[in-house]
Symmetry: C2
Subunit: 296 residues, 2 copies
């Protein structure tokens, strides 16, 4: 539950905007071939928080007012995120039956369509990047980063390490590495893309990247904590699963108290990085606080 | 067996060039994370004919001499092709144990790594497109087409239709549709990209696209025929599988004789489109003939 009314309202407004944009850029459910479009929309519209597009949009607004220009970028980021969720949930990898409180894509549409729906969303993300109103040079830079940050040196790397470390004792360095690459990477990318799209200075881009790194890590630690403390209903996914398969988690490596302490420290450091933007960063600052307070 | 010595030599030379390029652009087998790189290389270097890069390179050479400029493009096309192979072979879709005479990626490395290796190759293909020496505008056009031709309106569409039609009687229109989207699409794309990269005229690009469409379809028809007539050893994959699962094939819909007749007609029409390029198109013309003669 988000207690801050201002943040709650802002998240809702942006989420609705992202949903409208996604709906606009995706083929209709009844458009041929129907089943794959239904499968794509199933996970995409299963009530996600739109945290990554929100971070991109709010970062963009630190440096530019023309937020309508980056709607395709917001959609691309959420599609990339959903691609990773659909593929991760497949029996081949995590074999998860629930996600965002709903049955996962493959449970409803079958492994074949879920696999192809994921592939398709990844293609859409690249496609959308070519349509953003910005210089060709900037577009190409973003496409290159989307590719490398998604590929075997990015999101996929994090996912793979996660698989390999299951059931094994891992070091603190390995844990850090996995999380940086898994959750942190896309959060950082969303924030960096917000900077690129707004043509922020190199200094600001660097500053916001560090902010992204800190909240990405904090978010993941809290996620690990919630997996132990949270209730299945609130989380909308199978809880306690990480422990059962003895996956690399912060509480497993550092213990619960130390994990909480680490998350708090990261959140405070992140908020400090926002100070230079004054009131413009109010929502980002409230959101950063919220990482520690969230129950889902 | 290719009987024509000239073509055989040319295919071999270009294949070696493509292999060197692929090797250069891919992470080493012993590079971290090793397993995913081994899995990527497994299917990529399992003795493919490199037909699609060959078609791109030979089309490019109709209009330009600077063939070294398009090496990353050749690699990108083969990576995209291999991405579709790895995902198609997964138990979630075709569940094929052999491909190019070797065990398929998931059989050797597991479903999880095969899935991620496929995802990763798709990302690499986009990444490589950003590195080609050509105008930013042309690059973006190619990235957009790679995305749309791969996504739910392209390769993935063909694959999906294939799944949906399994075990059902399909119409001739549906069969045509599936094959145009499945095999034909990437062959046509390779040829069109060769034209773009060489900055061929619109008229030539259109002409070569039609050529691509015809040989793509002929190739697929012959593939279907070989699946019935060929031997498992020569094909290097499980033969007769298409009939067993009653998939959409040309011989199943048109009969064997009519299918052969159709392939011959397409090949002759395709060769006619090459006439205007004279000697420069010799290899493409020989290759077109070869579609009818191949036994693997």
């Amino acid at each position: 539950m988000i207690n801050n009314k201002l943040l709650k309202k802002d998240l809702k407004e942006k989420r609705e905007l992202v949903n409208i944009t996604l709906d606009r850029f995706l083929p209709r459910k009844d458009e041929y071939p129907k089943d794959i479009h239904k499968a794509m929309r199933h996970t995409l519209f299963a009530g996600g928080k739109r945290l990554r597009p929100y971070l991109m949009l709010r970062t963009f607004e630190l440096f530019s007012d023309e937020v309508s220009k980056v709607q395709p970028l917001a959609a691309a980021i959420e599609m990339l995120h959903t691609f990773t969720l659909i593929h991760d949930d497949l029996p081949a990898i995590d074999d998860d039956d629930y996600r965002r409180g709903k049955k996962t894509c493959h449970v409803v549409y079958g492994d074949d369509l879920a696999l192809l729906a994921g592939d398709s969303l990844l293609c859409y993300a690249f496609d959308l990047l070519t349509t953003i109103e910005m210089s060709d040079e900037n577009k190409i830079k973003m496409i290159r980063e989307l590719a490398s940050e998604s590929g075997d040196q990015g999101l996929i790397l994090g996912q793979m390490k996660d698989i390999l470390s299951e059931g094994k004792d891992i070091t603190k360095e390995e844990l850090d590495f996995i999380h940086r690459n898994k959750t942190g990477r896309l959060i950082k990318l969303a924030i960096r893309f917000g900077c690129y799209a707004a043509e922020a200075s190199k200094e600001d881009t660097k500053n916001m990247e560090i902010f992204g790194e800190k909240i990405g890590l904090a978010f993941q630690i809290v996620d690990d904590i919630l997996d132990i403390e949270g209730s299945s209903k609130k989380m909308g996914k199978t809880v306690g699963k990480d422990i059962k398969v003895s996956k690399a988690t912060y509480p497993a490596v550092y213990g619960l108290d130390k994990s909480k302490e680490m998350a708090t420290k990261l959140v405070n450091e992140a908020k400090k990085l926002l100070e230079k933007y004054g009131d413009k960063a109010e929502m980002l600052s409230l959101l950063t606080d919220f990482i520690l307070l969230r129950e889902f």
